[in-house]
Amino acid sequence: MLEIRIHGRGGQGAVIASKVLAGAFFREGKWVQAFPAFGVERRGAPVTAFVRVDEEPILVRCQIYEPDQLLVLDPTLIEAVDVTQGLKPGGLVLINSERPPEAFSLGDYRIATVDAGAIALKHGLGTREQPIVNTAILGAYARASGLVSLDAVLEEIAESVPLGAEANRAAAREAYERVRLPAPAPAAKNA
């Protein structure tokens, strides 16, 4: 089973990201489960969401404490909360940041970055103060993880993002191209 934890702030679209990512894996024949971390969400407050992916029906129904991978929608969360708590060694950490992966020393993880905020703004998603970065980060995830295709992500965005699907798809596509992968790419197993 693949377990992914998504960290964001209220308003960035972390919960929708979990749903879209689960939907993309589902399109490729996987069993999926996606859910938010049951908080009282306020704009700007830390939000967590979870995705499980497996080849068979998923039985466990609780939060994810030892994820295989992390998506961090806001780099300031790295200072605010212990985002890597429980993350398995060698796990992928995909961060929305204009900085390169080497700028983050979080431990024995595979770090990738993408400037999802700039990409979102370029495509008119959200405001300068609060760009909506969720679809961009998912495009980057398709490339950085190699576990789900960009096509599946784009199809799922078309179906489950009610407004501005085209701009969101364009942002995901651009983030797929622009994501900065760790160098040299290790052969670490993520799933």
């Binding site: 979990s18 589902f26 069993w31 938010p36 049951f38 009282v40 039985l59 466990v60 129904r61 609780c62």
Partner: protein, 405 residues
């Protein structure tokens, strides 16, 4: 059939739409959920030909459903926690009037302190109102049970509650097979009430009945609950034949040769299945009995499954204050005085949405494995140290200071 990724709330909405509900009466504000939000959209877009009545309280929502059902309409509502409690008076009325209303309740803990998280005490506190109660484990079961509930209710003329855990189902997205409308239409024909309010044939309903008659009314409802056991089994089997997923009153999982059987309901069942599979792989003789139907309580099915098992552990995400976990108490009453009854351990876990993880279930199995008999009435799992000393959990003083600042 088509498989879709649905959240639990919407699985209820799809089930109600496929059942061609005719009247939906609901209070639209907290603690309401997306169940009726989605149904309102379905009505607005013309995907569902139902009258959607917005009301000013849950008490009124149930009153409107009672009126609608009495005229022969298929009536539906949904609520949660405090909203369900506000309906309490009308719940008795719906059952006493023998109206097959179907309602979804999202299990949420009761205030104070305020909580929006999962706990079963809201619906279990309605156990004596005369409603059938189904506790669901997955979004698929939620959708399937919504459809079955109408068929069962309309056969025995009792209202039914479909119950799902807050967040662990209500806000969780997972794949759900959505049956085709034609297939559901064949399974669930339109509701034909034996008696109804009819302006062309006027009758009065709900009149005063003296001591010479009331007793028999209650006897008849009790008989209807006995019939409901058969109806639930038969409808669950028919559903299985038509849709490939059969349901019953209880569901055993590795019970046959088990030395320890967990008794669970709702989503704790699902997590416990993963733990049972893991321990079976290690050669441990452990199993699980899921209780799907709480009313009517499946006395016979429970005895059939558990008599002869050495040890049983009930996990309750609910509590009758001053008594025990509620499934625990009911189970003991079903087993009392029976030959070869197991030792019954009662665990209260996950109140107010505290996460019940595989680790929690392992802890429970370890406790049960280490002793022959329970050494207390109720076991609390993962209680914070301060509370065990009789003080409130968490740092109350620090919180007060923060509020002042």
């Amino acid at each position: 059939m088509a498989k879709k990724v649905l959240m639990g709330n919407h699985a209820v909405s799809y089930g109600a739409r496929l059942s061609r509900v005719e009247v939906i009466a609901a209070y639209p504000i907290t603690p309401q959920t997306q169940v009726v939000e989605e149904l309102a959209e379905m009505c607005a877009w013309g995907d569902l030909n139902a009258k959607f009545i917005k009301v000013e309280s849950e008490h009124s929502a149930m009153a409107a459903c009672i009126g609608a059902s009495a005229t022969g309409a298929r009536a539906f509502t949904a609520t949660s926690s405090q909203g369900l409690l506000l309906m309490h008076e009308m719940l008795h009325w719906a059952a006493g009037a023998r109206l097959p209303i179907v309602m979804a309740n999202i299990n949420r803990a009761l205030a104070p302190p305020w909580s929006i998280w999962s706990e079963q005490t809201d619906s279990l506190a309605q156990r004596d109102t005369g409603w059938l109660q189904f506790y669901c484990e997955s979004n698929q079961e939620v959708l399937d049970t919504t459809i079955q509930a109408f068929k069962i209710s309309e056969r025995v003329l009792l209202p039914a509650m479909i119950i799902l855990d807050a967040f662990f189902l209500s806000h969780t997205y997972e794949p759900v097979e959505v049956p085709a409308q034609e297939a559901v239409d064949e399974f669930l024909p339109p509701y034909k009430p034996p008696l109804k309010l009819d302006v062309d044939d006027p009758h009065a309903f709900g009149a005063l009945v003296g001591p010479d008659g009331y007793y028999e009314f209650r006897y008849n409802i009790q008989k209807a609950f006995e019939e409901a056991q058969r109806a639930i089994i038969e409808v669950g089997e028919e559903f299985g034949e038509r849709f490939g997923r059969a349901y019953g009153l209880v569901e055993p999982f590795y019970v046959d040769d088990a030395e320890v059987v967990l008794v669970t309901s709702s989503t704790i069942t699902s997590t416990a299945r993963a733990v049972i599979k893991e321990r079976r792989a290690r050669g441990e003789r452990v199993g699980l009995l899921k209780i799907r139907v709480f009313r009517p309580f499946p006395f016979e099915a429970v005895r059939e499954m558990l008599l002869g098992v050495p040890k049983v552990a009930v996990i309750d995400r609910n509590l009758s204050l001053g008594h025990h976990g509620i499934f625990h108490a009911e189970l003991k009453s079903a087993l009392y005085g029976q030959r070869n009854a197991p030792a019954v351990f009662g665990f209260v876990a996950g109140l107010g949405g505290r996460d019940v993880t595989p680790r929690t279930i392992h802890q429970i199995l370890d406790i049960v494995g280490s002793q022959e008999e329970p050494d207390r009435d109720v076991y609390w799992i993962g209680l914070k140290a301060k509370a065990e000393e009789g003080q409130p959990a968490g740092n109350g003083r620090k919180q007060r200071q923060r509020v002042k600042a």
